[in-house]
Structure formats: structure tokens, C-alpha cells
Point group: D2
Chain length 370, copies 4
């Protein structure tokens, strides 16, 4: 499996399986001098940790992160930062029964086909626990972005078809679903209890906005900012769709409506509307980024499903174990982390876009040489 | 601008602006022995060429491709393939007037902000002509995929909100909109005439399916097959959304419905349904790939729009020049090309997934050594 | 610090500082099904471990490796393999005194200039301990190469100007210097005792040969096999030169002598001589690879040296701590590891060079699909 | 052939064969605003052009470069720069005879083994003409470096064993061998005439120095500045060795002699000597870079050589065509170009090493936003 590394300059490489010794990430290309600590990263991890409500898996994990390298006296040194979370509550026996058949909606089958065999304990590399490495690395990216005045806000826009119609930022962390609409959250709770009684699961839509971005982030052709965000989001398990700005709605619109007129806002060029979602030609335009991510219902459900054994024999199965009836609220944190990773990389890449600025930087920096 | 290269092993690097000397691509990592010729590539380019109907730009371009390297006696040699299309109908004067202001929906503003100035002739690097390089390179990828029995089908599912309800493959190339539904195509034509009379433009949705894929293509974490497809699609100008399988609809579904049961089909493991769109855990599962791409309305419209000059002064503008009132039918070809590039790369990457197979290959190949 | 990842498909990312919590590597892109265990990797690490003779640092480290992911039931799974070695004998106080000045021959100064400050405990990231990650990852690469019948042999050709004139393979692991010439080893021992008495250090030349290579490994232009080997070697601290085949001697030769005539050897095309060192046009030609690496004398010496403090004030220093008077014997193991990493990657890249072979592979593999 | 792209941010992709339609390069990641023109690039190409003296191939090529994209009104725009040189004097018939056998010292054999067949016209991709793309791209890199006050000087230190003992910069371009020592050049001329009479060829050593470098260029582990330079040099056909600073001589030295003491030079930290060649721990230390490259004798010689046909039959051959009896003087220009490419990339990478500097840059740049 190549493909465990993400990013061009600010690069994260993740490792680990759900029932191995642990999960981790190595973050390379991090600029020196960013204040970071295990406590700060833990704050991000705690938001994705299981067992926060009755609507997430009851698997007991503290997910304590340890920084093994790259930080000295509270600041990043510029060297690779190794992050590690040990698996505690492994309970392999929960999963031993799934070794012989293919769980619908899971990667068991494709792993067998690609590699010839698989680590059948839990989801192995395709487990939701893989996202621990993303969130831990994303925490460093997000702390860096904060130094630049860039802030990311991620929340559940829709769950089980129930949409947050209002937006109250304070509500987001107040309900189990990370919805900005208290009323919608209540409806979701009722709906979810119903589905849980039916041993079923639901999906939803995560929305993410970014404010405070400088203009010009992203590269105009293949490495468009929105293209890298799309890859980042679809690389998260269970994500099935991505929209930038008006997204699919713009496909029904007209140019006269969809184009965002430029205006002069307090002496700066700005856009009157933001149908584009903050990017033009793949580069940030100074407006807020606005994206949406579609998340499928949790594949693990406790009701009888039809499937086959490795040898093709049909079999009816009931998947045991502790599963999230809805992963959207936890995915909110992963979407935020992947967004931070894409932006931190774009910020660094953009340091090299103009020769005049590069020359001026080195002129100044050389005066500072010892 | 880093970011003009796409792919890990099968790699394309594109170059060129709409009003420079030409547009081109260098395709590296192409296996030796693929039958290819200028005629074959031209066949793909002709499908995206302008002036095919009254509903596309009347810019006159033959878009004649020339192969400058990497092909010998009708076959790829394994060395980089340089492809070139000269710009003929440049008419820079058409565009001289836009040098001073920012066209709504275009990248003029972000280019100025990122690079300090811009090549204001036409869209420069962000012109639709940039896709010539993608289609020419994609042609080589698609010829390679055909050798493996992999076929891609791309078409317009929806234009201006009018959806193709039926699917007749033969219809696709029979109407100006590449729609698989004759009736829908007629409705689109009527609607589009109306919009053109209003000097407006419309968008739509391109659908793309792939059949004949081996299982296991794609890498399980960041380089998921669907993640790379998402990046490929969002890297196309005017694309604002991407869906895999049921996409956003799956966000409203339940696990019991959305999970695709595995079955035994003529002795092989298969899926009873395909809500997932042909990928599980980021790897192809043997079902057809099914994806959708949202395309915004053409930004260039001939009606008065409000915007600002480079110095921020408000101005009302009418964009002259020859524009597509709808780019979806031409985007169909670009979506197909980008899909081919992603798959060719995935096929090559997947050659390295199993040690037993690698050893067996070298054992055989070494017997063939001279 | 971007640049902690090496390789295109078979990729290693290393992390860790000499006096942090540990040293490690994540190896991604490893084919599934390679037999591997902590014991096997430990065998490689033990060869580079300090304290093996009076001529290496007396720092006490067991360098116990732990595999945290990517191996299941004794075989690689295709997922990233996380390897970790904890630092035991840190003795930071040994190094506290060097925080304020710049050790000649070390990277203290350049780290300060590049990052603004540094982790001054030991060499930090530039410590010889960084090579633990390379050797652990190289062990996996070498085990893979052995499955293909490829063997690497690395040894000291010259130390302190004393050259191994004879070559007895068995001798290599019999003396403290890994020299294939017993007599030379004795001379080196005498010379080294003398230099140690003078509180001085010496350098040498490591030679590395590879046999059993298939033909055609390496890519003909920038990613030539010898180019990637050169980078691999110069990326090892203290390495100052690289030669392929006759290397610098060929610069004094003539074409009529330096060209290796092709011959027919038992029905196969072979070369009569091997001045080229096993590569032609950057691709392996079936002859043994033959390369040499120049290693400078250990920078840390216990005699008084002139240098400056961070503020530029001149100061005379005597570097305390436990240093190798000669690192060449341990570098032998690192050279072997880096060679293995380059070759494993080249073997994987080369799986994609011919369309006919790729098509035949997939034809066979698809018949094996479940 | 993957591997036709070099660099991480400042990236060049080359294409073309000796007897195809032309040779070219696409340079991506070039900062906007560098003054460049076909005339400027031609100046660099003319220095490597054949036919400059009786000691180089008499093949007649003007090697006229054309810029096809990425430059507008005399400055780079930040978009990819496509460079193209058409092949004029192809004379394929000169080479038709070599299709059937393997030229000693050439890549004919390895190309056949890797790809199953080859473009047998001339050296194909392994021809010296491939370096045209490197020199054209290197010209842009070198113009960028000049803006930063960084200058590269490359010349022949030794040819056919005859060493330039003195160094007179003005001499370099005054003799056919680019030697800084008039007397040595005369001796080389005499020696070369002798070898040419014997239908033989010779090799030599190119030396390259770089002054005006900021400190801290290069990344401390795998992407050390010297590691990337080593790869760059060994990627040039005919190069067999690389040395940084004292190189192989340092292997015979002692730490007390080889360490460069730090001193205070006019208030700045400097080194008293430069055995290291300008790098410490893989990062530039402010001293001049000093490297040497070993070049083998030209493989094409006009005397009878023993070799085999593709079917293994022994054959005696005399290679016709127009060859350089010595390529070192032309390689001088290629070494300079590759050095420029490595340094331009290192300069860009280094823009991202410190968070404090990045934040200050964006603070300033955002004030400049329109």
C-alpha cells in the first residue's frame, strides 16, 4: 500500500490497524517554531474519541497521544514529528468470527482481492481508528493555521435527512450530533433512537467553512485548492460525495445568477456573493471556503445481512461488536483535520509563487545570518 | 505554479495558455508497447473540439495534435511522450479589453493576487483549452486500458436541471449535448435557445461509468481510487462537485439499504446492488465504477455584469468573444480523459501489491532475458 | 524539514533524534506476503549497534526494535510498517555543554541558521542514531530482495588510507573493521590505536556489490539506478563521495579500455569486463553492481579544537561524550541498507515497464479472482 | 519510463530522442516575475552546442530554442514553461546499421531488456542530446539564482589524466576544453590529437563551485543538498563519480585535519577552511560549494570493437557517425545546469523552514492584497 502519505511539503504519513499495537502518524515538513504539546493535540483527539454519547461506539479508548520526536522545549524543531496512540481496548475476539466472511459495505473483500489475505481483526487499516493519525497530524496543521489567522469550522449540516435549518455556532458542541441547530438535533435524536431500535444506521452531511485565508492559495491546474480538498475528503472512509460552494446546485443554476460579482469593499476587492465557495480557478479568493461532504450510513449494523464466505458460499450474518449508529458527529472532526492538512500545505507551497517576494525574503534573512 | 503534473507512475504534465503558441502535455511512465498514433489521439481531441454545434464556442480550431517523442514504429517506447497542439485562431484583440478588470466567475483576480500579474489574453492557463493536454494524454491512458478490457463511458446526465430519465447508449453521440435520452436532449435544446437569447449560460451533471475493472485497484488510505478520481474531477475548471455511487443520496439512506450484499454470481463473489459505485475501502470491487460530476454554468456571458477594475473601481462590463453557453457536452470528454489517467495509474501501482506475484513475474521474465 | 521520506513506491519515512524518546521509520508500499519479524530486523540492527568493539562508541544501547503495524501472522500485509527503537542511554548531561557553541564538522551551526534554533542534545536529527530507521527499513527491503535472488555484500575497502588488497568474504565479519583482508585489518588496528592515543579519528571507503539483479532496473533519465544510489549514499551523514564501477579512475582511462565488450556467455548476452559497475544508461545490465562510498573521519574528537559560540565569540573546546574513532565499520551496514531500499523501489517501478507483460499479468490474476 | 521529472517544487520534465522530432522540457514551479527570453536561454544552449571545436562532434545543429508557454511580456508568469528544440541534422541512416547489435558502453542492450525493443536511431533517449532539455531548464534556474546573488562556476579540472594545476578563471572559455589552466589545455590538445589518431576517446573530471549561497539550503536527512547534487550529477550520462569537498581524499584524512574550525569573520560566523565543500549535515554553511564529477571516456569510438548481435552472435563492429572524442568540455555546461536546478529547488523548499518567518511574510503580503 503506497498512498499512506498525504501532502507535498507539509506531509503526513499514517500507520496502524484497529487491533494492532497502535495508530500513529509522522508529520514531516512542519515549519520550526510552532508551539505544540501533547495536551494541545489531545484536545483535538478527544473530540473524535468514541464513547462521548450513547450514539457512538462504546469501545473504551482514552486515545492518549504521545509525541516521540520533532518537538523541543514546547516548539516544533522542523524535524519530523512522530505521534503515537496505543490501542488499549482491542478485544480481538469480538472480531474473530468475521475472518471467514465478507461484511457488506466493508473493505474485507477488496483487501483479500488486492493483497491475497488480510488482517481480519476489526477493520484493520480501514477501521475508523485510522483517522486518529489524521486528527493528530491535523492538530499541528491547525495550530499553524491559527498563527496565520486562519480558522476552520466544521459541523453536521444534515443527519438522516434531517437538516439544520438555522445556524447557531454555540450549539455545535452542545449536542451529541455537532449540529448548529438545537431543534434539528432533537429531531435527529428521536430519529436515531428509532433506527437504533431497528438495528440500523444512518448517514449525513458535514459542512466545513474556513475564514481568514490569504488570497492565492492553491495551484491553478491539477493542484487546485478545491481538488486537493476533494481528494482529502474522499480519502476519509465512508465519504461518498464532495461539494464546493453551491456544488451540485450550481449545475441547475445560470451564469447570471451563479457568477459572484466583484465589488469594492472598504477599499479591497471582494465578492458580493459566494456561490463559488471561496475559490476561483483553484485559488482562494479571500471569501470563506465553503464545502460539504456526504457520509454514508455506518456499514456495521446489528441486523441480519446476506453475504458470502471467502469461498463464495452464501451466509446470513449478524455483525457483533460496538459500532456507531451514526459516525457523522465524529467525522466532523476528521473533516476539519483533513482541511487543515490541505491548507497548511497550500500555505507553504504558496511561499514560492513570486520571485520578487522570494528575493526580498532572502535579502532580509541574510542580514539576520549569524 | 507547481501542480501541473498528475499521477504517480503514469504521469502527465500539461503546459500552455489559451493565447500562447500552443497547448501540450508530456506523458511519462507510459509502459512500452502500446499501439498509438496521432490519428488515434486526434479522434479523442475531435470530440472535445469547439464548433461542433451552435451550442459551443465558434472559435475555429482544428486542434491538430503532433507526437514529438516516445513513439517509434507505431508503439510507445517507454520514454516520455510529448504531445503538442498549436493555437491557430488566437484573436488576442478579442481579449485586450479584459486586461484591466476582473471577469466574474473567472480566475483573473486570483491570478493577479497569487502571481502579482497575469497573462490577460483569454483565460491564460485557466482557459478551457488547457484541457486539450488532458484529453491528449487521456487518450493514451484509455488505449492502454482497452488492452486490459477496461472501458469508460461518459455522458451528460443533466443539463440546466433537465435530467436524462432514460439511458440509450447510442443516443449519446447523436445529440449536441451527449445525453443518453433523446427526449431530454430536445428539452435541453429548447431551454438552451431561450437562455442564449437571454445572453445567459447553464450548467449540468456529467456521469461516468467504468466497466471491466480488475479488483483491488486503488490504495486503501489517502490514495483511494475514489479520492484520486475526486481530485481529478475537481481539478477540471468549472467542476463544483463529485459523487461516487449514490453520493449525497446515501447521506439520507440507512445502512440496511445502502450496504451492498455480497452474492455468489456464477462462481465468483459479486455484489447484489451497487450503491457504493464500485469501490469498497478505496479499492475497486469488480462492480462498475459510477460517478457524477457537477459543472457550473459557463462564467463568460454576454450580458452586462457588475465587477471592478484592478484598482477596485466598480465597472459594468459585457464580455465579448466566443463562448460556450454550455460546456457540459465538451466536459464529458474531459471527465472521460481524467478518469482514464487515474485508472491507468492505479493499474500500474497495483502491479506491486503482492510479493508472491512479483516474484513469479521476475522468475518468468528472467527466463526471457537475452 | 521535508525530505524525511525516501523512495517512490517502496517508501521509508524516518523520524527521531539521538536524545528524544526514540528513533523509528514507517515503511509504506511494501508488497504483501514478505515473511518478516522483529527477530529478523533485529539481526540487521545488531550489526550497526554501538559497543561491538573498543573501536566504536561505548554508548550502551540494545536498540530493540518493535513492529507496531503492517505485519500479521508473520507476513507483511501491504499496509505501512511502523518500526520503533526506544532511546535508553540518553545521558543528556553529556551534551548540555555543547548547546552554546558550534562543534566543527557537525550540523549545529547549519541547524541554527536554517531553523532559528536547534535541539542541542547530541546531534539531534543529524546523529548517527538516525540511521537506525534506515537499517530497520532496509532489513525489510533486503528480505524482499532475497526472495528475488538478489544479494548485497558491503564491507570496508579502506580505512585510514590502509587498503584491503585481498578479498576473503569470510574475513568481513571476523574483524572489528569489516575488512575482507585479515592483514589489512591488523594494520588498521595498529594505526587506529595510535590515532586514538592522539584523540583523533579516521575515515575510510565502503565498497558494496550486488549480485543476482534482473536486467533493466532503473529508469533511463533522472531516476537512473546509479543516480538514486548516489543520492542514497550521500544522504548518509559523513559520506563525501560516490563511485560507480571504475568511478574516478575511468576519468583517466580511454574508451577502448573502459568500454565493456558484450559476449555470449552460455547462450546469454553478458559483458566480458565490468568497468561500468553493472549499469548501462542508468539501467542494471545483469553484471554485479559495484560501488564505493567515501566516508570522512568522525567529526567528534576529544582533542582541543577552535570554534565559536552562537554569538560568534571564539572558544577552544574539547568534545566530551562517547564517540566512534572510526564509523566506517558501522557505516557498512547503513550503506547496505540504503542499497536495499533503492533496489526494492527499482524492482517495483520496473513492474510497470512493458504493456505486454502487464496485460499478461492481469489476464492471469483475473482468473484467480474469487 | 517514469523518472523524467526532476525536482520537488522547481520541477523539470524532459522529453525527446536524438533522432525524433525534437528535444524539450517543461519547467513547472517557476516563481513568477523572472526576466527570461529565448535569447537568454540560447546563450546557455550555445555553450553546449556541438561543432564548437575539432574536438567535438561535427553534427550540425543550431539547437534553436523556442519558448511555447509560461512567459509573458518578458517575464515568467508562474505557469509551466515549455521549451523546445527541433532536431535538424538527423541523418538516421548514420545509425541504421546499429539496430542489430549492442554498442559497448551504450544503453542499447539495457533498453532492449527493459522495454522489449528500442528506438535504435542514435542513442534514442540516452543520447547526449537529452541534455539539451536540462540546459534549457537550467538556464531559467540559473537566471533565478542570479537574482539572489548566487553564482555557479563550472570547468574541466582534468582531462585524460592531465590536471589543471593553476586556476585562471578567464582561461576557461578561451580554450576548447574549458580548462582554467592554459598550459594544461595545450597538453590536453596534444594528447587528444594522439588519441583521435588512434580512434580512441578520453574522459575527465568536471569541477563546479557555487558562491553567494544563503545558509541552511538543503534538508537534513534524505534530501541533503549534497545528496540531491549527487543524484543530479549521476543522472547525467557518462558520469561515474561524485565528490563533495575533499571527497575521497577525506577518507584518508584525520578528524583533526578534516574538521573545518569555525571562526568569527567580520562579525559573522564562518569557517577557516572548507574541506567539507560548503555543506554541514546536508545544509549549506555559507562557504562556497565545491564538487567534482568523474566522466568516463566517450563510449562511441571508431575502432573495431567486439560485441554481440541481439541474438547473441558475436560480431566485430566499427561505429560510424560523428562522435565527441571528449565530452568533458560540453559536460561542463550540463553540470552547471543540473547544479542550478538543484539549488533553485532548495531555495524554494527553504522558504518554508521557519514558522515565524512565514507568518511575517503573510502579514506583509496581506497588506498588499488588492
Amino acid at each position: 500500500m503506497a498512498g499512506s502519505t498525504f501532502g507535498t511539503i507539509f506531509r503526513v504519513t499514517t500507520w496502524g490497524e484497529s487491533h494492532g499495537k497502535g495508530i500513529g502518524a509522522v508529520v514531516d515538513g512542519v515549519p520550526a517554531g510552532i508551539p505544540i504539546s501533547e495536551e494541545v493535540i489531545q484536545g483535538y483527539l478527544n473530540r473524535r474519541r468514541p464513547g462521548q454519547s450513547r450514539f457512538t461506539t462504546q469501545r473504551k479508548e482514552q486515545d492518549q497521544v504521545r509525541i516521540l520526536s520533532g518537538v523541543f522545549e514546547g516548539k516544533t524543531t522542523g524535524t519530523p514529528i512522530a505521534l503515537e496512540v496505543r490501542n488499549e481496548d482491542q478485544r480481538s475476539h469480538d472480531y474473530s468470527d468475521i475472518a471467514g466472511y465478507y461484511r457488506p459495505g466493508h473493505a474485507d473483500f477488496t483487501f483479500d482481492e488486492k493483497y491475497g489475505f488480510r488482517d481480519y481483526r476489526g477493520g484493520g487499516r480501514s477501521s475508523g481508528r485510522e483517522t486518529i493519525g489524521r486528527v493528530a497530524a491535523g492538530a499541528i496543521a491547525e495550530e499553524f493555521l491559527k498563527m496565520l489567522g486562519i480558522t476552520i469550522l466544521s459541523y453536521s449540516r444534515e443527519i438522516g435527512g434531517i437538516r439544520a435549518e438555522t445556524f447557531e455556532k454555540d450549539q455545535i458542541e452542545r449536542n451529541a450530533f455537532r449540529m448548529p441547530d438545537e431543534l434539528a438535533a432533537e429531531k435527529v435524536e428521536a430519529y436515531l433512537k428509532e433506527k437504533m431500535a431497528e438495528c440500523d444506521s444512518v448517514g449525513g452531511i458535514v459542512e466545513c467553512t474556513v475564514s481568514g485565508l490569504p488570497r492565492g492559495l492553491g495551484e491553478p491546474v491539477f493542484d487546485k485548492l478545491d481538488a486537493n480538498l476533494a481528494k482529502a475528503m474522499l480519502s476519509i472512509g465512508a465519504v461518498k460525495g464532495f461539494e464546493m460552494g453551491d456544488g451540485f446546485a450550481s449545475a441547475k443554476s445560470c451564469g447570471s445568477v451563479n457568477n459572484d460579482p466583484f465589488i469594492n469593499k472598504e477599499g479591497k476587492v471582494a465578492k458580493e456573493t459566494n456561490h463559488a465557495g471561496g475559490v476561483l480557478g483553484g485559488m482562494s479568493d479571500g471569501s470563506d471556503l465553503m464545502m460539504r461532504v456526504a457520509i454514508k450510513p455506518t456499514s456495521s449494523i446489528s441486523r441480519t445481512q446476506h453475504t458470502v464466505k471467502q469461498d463464495g458460499t452464501p451466509i446470513d450474518v449478524v455483525i457483533k461488536g460496538r459500532h456507531d449508529p451514526i459516525i457523522v458527529p465524529r467525522a466532523v472532526v476528521v473533516v476539519e483535520a483533513m482541511t487543515a492538512l490541505v491548507l497548511a500545505d497550500a500555505v507553504l507551497m504558496n511561499m514560492t509563487s513570486r520571485a520578487d517576494r522570494i528575493c526580498e525574503c532572502y535579502r532580509r534573512w541574510r542580514e539576520e545570518e549569524r
